[in-house]
Amino acid sequence: MSFDPAALRRQFPLLAGDARLHYLDNASTAQMPQAVLERLVSHETRTRANVQRGSYALAERASEAYAGARERARRFLNAARAEEVVFTSGTTASINIFAQAFGARLAPADEIVISAAEHHSNFVPWQLLRDRSGARLRMLPLTRDGRIDLARLADFVTARCRLIAITHCSNVTGALTDIAAVRRAARAVGARVLVDGAQAAQHGAVDVQALDVDAYAFSGHKCFGPNGVGVLWVRAELLETLPPAFAGGGMVARVSLEQTSFADPPTRFEAGTPPIAQAVGLGAALDWMMALPWVEIRAHEERLARRLLGALGEMEDVSILGPRDTQARLPIVAFNLRDVHPHDLAQVLGDYGLCLRGGHHCAQPLHAAFGLEASTRASFAPYNDDADVDALLEGLAAARRILR
């Protein structure tokens, strides 16, 4: 299957309808293709009912669609069993649910290891857990080129470590984490590994069995699906032992005045009516993704990132956060224009149809490690092309004129 970014772009109504729009905020939210939009409308117009409860035909069809979405997520992750897939409202909820469930067993002497590169969603839940449990939170530092310093793993992952919660890819620098190295360090002390896959999952299917980690989280809206849905995958032998994080309908086996017994996973972790249409839409998005030629797409995305990194690297008034090459990174490029605040830069670029994020990107510890408050971030998806890079470089020239 050959890859044509222009043809792919035509599948996205929002992009196809506006040639002047240069959408480079994919690390925040990716656009939705027509196939996903149609699946959402189709489900809501023909199959809308609650799931896993009713026995009438419409409810059965809705339950079937929901189960089908879970199976699609299983395939996308190459998980062993669909029961390992918990639907949540997004990566943030996935990590919080895991933190509550896993954290219920932590003792004050236990340690959790995170890194300075984490999104707040994989940072603050562990701070809250630390405050509740008395466990110690340890933070892997960054290397001088802005990667997580895995050479320091042995210093931070001690016999007291119970969990390493780490990003698969920084949402600021685009740097990929060597998960195998993290897993080895964790296994050596009997600790578990949770991977924040919010960014990585946007760039092709994940193989949790190959990664050999214990938990993986990602969001629908970054994977060309709807908002309000995400996935928490947890290895069955661990998930089955975890207590629920939230209580309510749908997650129980039996309730009485005296006590409640809980349903088996995954429903034990899906209290209340789940995001049904969103999960169905996510299933369609994952189907759409799995049909794409990712080897070619990754080469295309890498070429765009390399071109942008090269152009920015030649500008004496631009500084790039993190690695300046495309080795072990995804197409996310954060930078600063000297004497121009990222918020102002993003505002001016917006006038040129450029959608970039200026701010801390919910990664204040990472920015603090660079001695910064904020940055401007361009992030590529398969539908981006050279015209987007051209527009960004022209926009930077305009920003210099307007803001200085």
Partner: protein, 147 residues
């Protein structure tokens, strides 16, 4: 509203002037506020005399709009009471959110604030303009509580 109108010379001049930037010795009140959306940070210190601002200083880590708003405060706020600043901030918010008239102020007004009118319609930036005023109000309350 285009970026050229948003970043007109008056705004850039205000930000560049940075009037009031610095620190005070032994301030009566101090506040440090963050904009959770973008990480802008404004620290303001005040000295009070008879319930009015006798002196103030600010330190801003933020965008051009935030720095310009802080500089406007540096130029005009001395002599004002907390109630007057609160009324002015409400008028400024009204101008930003509903395209209202520029704040009239309690005396001859703050003509600089009219330069922020083009921010109307850019909802994500209202907080940038208002953050120094919010910070000033917190500093004034802290100063009043301490007096």
């Amino acid at each position: 509203m285009s970026a050229q109108e948003l970043y007109q010379e008056a705004i850039k001049a205000l930000a560049a002037a940075g009037t009031g930037h610095g620190r005070l010795d032994a301030p009566d009140g101090r506040a440090l506020l963050d904009n959770p959306l973008c990480g802008d940070r404004v620290e303001i210190e005040v000295k009070l005399s008879a319930g009015r601002i006798a002196a103030l200083a600010h330190r801003v880590k933020g965008c051009l709009l935030c720095r310009a708003a802080a500089a406007a405060i540096g130029q005009r706020a001395t002599g004002a009471s907390a109630e007057e600043i609160e009324r002015l901030a409400a008028q400024l918010a009204e101008m930003l959110e509903r395209s209202g008239p520029p704040p009239a102020g309690w005396d001859s007004g703050w003509p600089e604030l009219a330069a922020f009118a083009p921010v109307h319609g850019h909802r994500s930036r209202y907080g940038c303009v208002l953050l120094p005023f919010k910070s000033l109000l917190v500093a004034l309350r802290a100063g009043s509580a301490g007096c």
